[in-house]
């Protein structure tokens, strides 16, 4: 699992409150990703990071922000949680050493997930 931990593992919150999910890695991998997984949609990329302070949007970034001030930590923040953000959130990392003519083909290693419920 490339040493990824996520915290909290479960959270229940109310609409309109801010929420921060933490992803911590021990491998110092370059790339980190945040996904959400919902029935009928599979895994969808929210934001990703390709280095400290380097982040970019994914497919479903509205309502989310991220920060990466250290190699080992990637934070996902819901500024004002909504019920539509109820989901299971997964963090993943990748070494960034799998570059080839086919681009970066790195395997992604996933954390255990955070189940977030917004009431």
């Amino acid at each position: 699992d490339a040493g990824i931990t996520q915290s909290p593992r479960h959270k229940v919150t109310e609409t309109g409150t801010p929420v921060t999910l933490r992803c911590h890695q021990t491998e110092n991998h370059r790339y980190m990703y945040w996904y959400r997984q919902d029935p009928g949609h599979g895994l969808r990329l929210i934001h990703y990071s390709y280095g400290v302070k380097d982040t970019d949007k994914g497919e479903v970034s509205d309502g989310y922000s991220v920060s990466r001030s250290k190699t080992e930590d990637f934070l996902l923040t819901l500024e004002s949680a909504t019920s539509s953000q109820t989901s299971v959130y997964f963090c993943a990392n990748a070494p960034g050493t799998g570059a080839s003519l086919a681009g970066n083909t790195d395997t992604q290693y996933f954390g255990p997930g955070t189940r977030l419920t917004v009431l």
Partner: protein, 113 residues
């Protein structure tokens, strides 16, 4: 529009048989494709990678094919076992340096003893 399709219905097979899972895509030009396994309540785990210039890859009882003309990948598990029961996800990657993947919804495989 871009789409990745995996069988949404669960696949039920008998132990010892070969399981075949399908991943179809439209309006993508993937440089590579990965398959992951996901058990309930856990994160996905990488299984195999196949590049666009490769037709087939094998790893123990697993085999993946990649047909860029048909825009399809097939994932085979031979001599299936109840322990193979899980959800299997395909993921497409493009020729960029971000390593971003686009995941299918997954197909749940149930292997009965």
């Amino acid at each position: 529009s871009q789409k990745i399709e995996q069988n949404s219905e669960a696949l039920n097979i008998q132990e010892g048989k070969t399981a075949t899972l399908t991943c179809n895509y439209t309006n993508y030009s993937p440089a590579y494709l990965q398959w992951y396994r996901q058990d309930p309540g856990r994160g996905p785990v990488f299984l195999l990678l196949i590049r666009e210039n490769e037709k087939e890859k094998r790893k123990e009882r697993l085999k993946v094919t990649f047909d860029t003309t048909l825009k399809q990948s097939l994932f085979h598990i031979t001599a299936s076992q109840p322990a193979d029961s899980a959800t299997y996800l395909c993921a497409l990657g493009t020729s960029s340096n971000t390593g971003k993947l686009i995941f299918g919804q997954g197909t749940t495989l149930q292997v009965k003893p």
